[in-house]
């Protein structure tokens, strides 16, 4: 009986946090997250997006797991893309400035004027 109570108490936090994710099998790539979804919702969404059921997996996640998934699949890639994007812009700007024969100050003033 005591163990049943322990089991019941252990299930409480799980019930309170019903967040679910759908990830790609093998890679673990995040496809979708929902904070309160009923089971099966994310699988249906994945299939509607063109995934085969065997390719994806839906499961519950804890808050900590979700934080880690966000960092891995959303924030870190976005930061990396932003760095690449900024570098590309700077590279393009340098080429244009050289073609125009402007100093750095003049080029900044041109950019401000075009805003």
């Amino acid at each position: 009986m005591r163990y049943l109570w322990v089991l019941f108490l252990l299930t409480l936090p799980t019930s309170a946090w019903a967040a679910r994710v759908c990830v790609e099998r093998g890679t673990g790539k995040l496809i979708e997250y929902q904070s309160h979804a009923t089971p099966g919702t994310l699988l249906r969404n994945a299939k509607a997006a063109g995934y085969q059921e065997a390719q994806v997996e839906e499961r519950e996640v804890t808050s900590a797991e979700w934080t880690a998934l966000q960092e891995q699949w959303i924030d870190a890639p976005n930061r990396a893309a932003a760095i690449v994007h900024a570098a590309q812009r700077q590279s393009k700007a340098a080429i244009i400035r050289a073609k125009l024969g402007l100093s750095a100050q003049e080029f900044e003033e041109l950019k401000e004027a075009l805003r």
């Binding site: 496809i31 929902q34 997006a49």
Partner: protein, 302 residues
């Protein structure tokens, strides 16, 4: 023992003596119509004495002890007149102070005239719900509106069918109709991989059929952000246009969410349907070059 009763007797005796003397002086002067009462020094002593005694007597009279029988009458024995007057004095003094408690059932509705008791005369917590005429009806509120000075009104669209009840949460001062408190709003989060082709995304777990939703969306480390609303008949999204024209915002009146990666590279969504446990978004991706996982927050209103 010198009791309050004896004190009162002495007090009233002195009071009567002064009054008699005052009336005697008054009649002897044969007052004319031009007579100025307060100029007559002969009355000043009596007036001052009378006023002082009245003021001194006030605290005594306001001390409303319950009436008690000083003398008891025994069967077969002659009743002394002084005993009768003592008992009467006890009752008289008690009634003069005012009766402040009514026994249960001694005052009925007919005995209280309309307007005879002002609201200021009813202390806080004097009246409990059980004291209000007419029992509170289930799922009803007592309201004073333009059609009534105050009556019980039942919320006809909040019947007990399906376990509904009219709920009130004191901490938020909100009324709601449902099986539990605070089911009028719901906040949740989801994501959308905007690189996915156009399609639907069902959101569940809301707990009711929303009538309107508010959406906040963004793709981190970019200038892509959106603020939108959707109802069954209309939607509108304000969004960052910074990746198309620097430092600008724009809007789209057919979408609730709009994420602009470039002028012609967008992912946007409207609510296709409001469902029994949430809603379904219909996503459009207008260019395969769209990228990034968007984080969405939604507030659904019942």
């Amino acid at each position: 023992m010198f009791t309050i009763c004896h004190q009162l007797k002495i007090f009233y005796s002195v009071l009567v003596l002064i009054a008699v003397k005052m009336m005697d002086n008054f009649s002897r002067l044969k007052i004319s119509s031009e007579f100025r009462f307060h100029y007559q020094s002969v009355f000043k002593y009596e007036l001052v004495s009378l006023s002082s005694l009245l003021l001194i007597g006030l605290p005594v009279n306001s001390f409303a002890a319950a009436p008690s029988r000083t003398c008891t009458y025994v069967t077969g024995q002659v009743i002394s007149p002084s005993c009768v007057s003592e008992n009467e004095d006890n009752m008289f003094s008690y009634l003069q102070a005012g009766v402040d408690t009514y026994a249960a059932g001694t005052v009925n509705a007919a005995a209280i005239a309309d307007g005879s008791v002002a609201s200021a005369e009813i202390a806080t917590n004097t009246i409990t719900p059980a004291d209000i005429s007419g029992s509170p009806v289930d799922d009803s509120v007592f309201v004073a509106d333009s059609a009534s000075a105050g009556t019980w009104r039942t919320l006809t669209n909040c019947t007990d069918t399906g376990g509904n009840h009219l709920n009130y949460t004191q901490s938020t001062n909100l009324f709601s109709c449902g099986t539990s408190n605070n089911t009028n709003m719901f906040v949740g989060n989801t994501t959308r991989d905007t690189s996915l082709a156009s399609g639907t995304q069902a959101i569940t777990g809301v707990g009711f059929t929303p009538r309107a939703c508010v959406f906040l969306a963004e793709i981190s480390a970019t200038q892509q952000a959106s603020w939108g609303v959707a109802t069954a008949g209309a939607s509108n999204a304000l969004f960052s246009n910074g990746l198309s024209v620097a430092d600008t915002y724009s809007d789209d009146q057919t979408s609730a969410i709009y994420l602009r990666q470039a002028a012609t590279i967008n992912a946007y969504a409207d609510v296709d349907s409001f469902d029994s446990d949430g809603f379904t978004l219909g996503w459009t991706r207008d260019d395969p070059g769209k990228a990034g996982i968007a984080r969405l927050q939604y507030l659904c209103i019942r």
